[in-house]
């Protein structure tokens, strides 16, 4: 089984990332919270990762704050921009007056949001975050937050539209630099379809050492992040070549750390 840096990023409708890889936790990436991010480049809607907008989607990853919590208003991933409190293009934020201990899922309106406060004990170590959005019908969407494989919050939005598609997708933040997260990250997964609670649980348990091949057989075909990832400031590529992300702001050793879930 391929053991890589654990940050291959499957994109797109098929979001293929398996490729014989799977639960690779060889290394993680460290985002310094100042300027580190990985982005698609480009600024138009055609380059933005569209699954966050008007379709079923799933995002999942292992995270650990660099510090006691995430910095206020930082994002593990995003696609959009801040518009004077009237809109957020980002999908998921961590914030809270005591630090970024609250995971907040936004719609396109600032006040259309729902939250889950992550316990300090969970933030003290690696934890698995998953967010799903299901298009129930043309107007209603059901969003869920999972932490460590368990469903924590569910909310139905109306006319959910998360993305300001004028900017490109970023890992480790979104368009506004002050949103860049202070975190260690492993196995980010993005899929343009809905994962079930069982799937999410299996993802979490995979990180705890479950037999990857057994889990893979129960999953939709290959949505897992695998190895890949350069250790330079150049372009990183997932193993399938579906999507390149350009690393920005990293200094040697380019964010790669051995700390893993």
């Amino acid at each position: 089984m391929a053991i890589g840096n654990g940050i291959g990023v499957p994109f797109g409708k098929n979001a293929v990332g398996g490729g014989g890889g799977g639960f690779a936790f060889g290394n993680s990436y460290h985002f310094d919270g100042v300027n580190d991010n990985m982005n698609e480049g480009g600024t138009d809607s055609s380059t933005c990762f569209n699954p966050f907008n008007q379709t079923d989607w799933t995002a999942a990853m292992w995270l650990k704050p660099d510090g006691s919590a995430f910095n206020h208003n930082t994002a593990p991933f995003g696609c959009g921009r801040y518009v004077n409190d009237a809109g957020f293009g980002s999908v998921v934020f961590f914030n809270g007056t005591a630090g970024g201990n609250i995971v907040r899922v936004y719609s396109n309106l600032y006040n259309a949001t729902f939250t889950y406060e992550i316990p300090a004990a969970t933030l003290a170590d690696w934890f698995h975050l998953a967010v799903t959005v299901e298009m129930v019908d043309a107007s209603n969407q059901e969003a869920k937050i999972y932490i460590n494989g368990d469903l924590k919050e569910t909310k139905t939005f109306t006319n959910y539209n998360l993305v300001d598609t004028s900017t490109s997708f970023r890992l480790g933040g979104w368009n506004n630099s002050s949103s860049f997260i202070n975190a260690y990250m492993n196995q980010p997964v993005f899929q343009e379809s809905l994962l079930s609670a069982t799937d999410i649980s299996d993802l979490y348990n995979g990180g705890s050492g479950a037999n990857a091949s057994d889990i893979m057989t129960t999953m939709k075909s290959g949505y897992l992040g695998t190895e890949a990832v350069g250790t330079t400031t150049g372009t990183i590529t997932d193993v399938t070549g579906n999507q390149d992300l350009t690393m920005s702001g990293f200094v040697a050793p380019y964010g790669v750390v051995s700390d893993t879930p």
Partner: protein, 74 residues
């Protein structure tokens, strides 16, 4: 404020005040434009190693948290 040498550092200056000819470009591993919380563009340098006096007019931090707070508060 005093700084230790050979540490990880971040420096900021308003992009409108950035003069590339006034700094030793090779000293800095990262030289990018970042946006503060108020979407103000800042020139941001990042490096590991000694501090140079050429950054007297910059806001320099040797803590990622303090550097992030600077962006959050501007």
């Amino acid at each position: 404020m005093s700084f230790k040498s050979n540490e990880h550092s971040w420096a900021f200056i308003l992009e409108s005040e950035y003069k590339p000819n006034d700094i030793t470009l090779s000293h800095y591993e990262v030289n990018v434009v970042v946006l503060s919380a108020e979407a103000v563009p800042y020139r941001n340098l990042e490096w590991t190693g000694s501090l140079l006096p050429e950054l007297d007019t910059w806001d320099v931090f040797q803590s990622a948290k303090e550097a992030a707070d600077f962006l959050e508060s501007n």
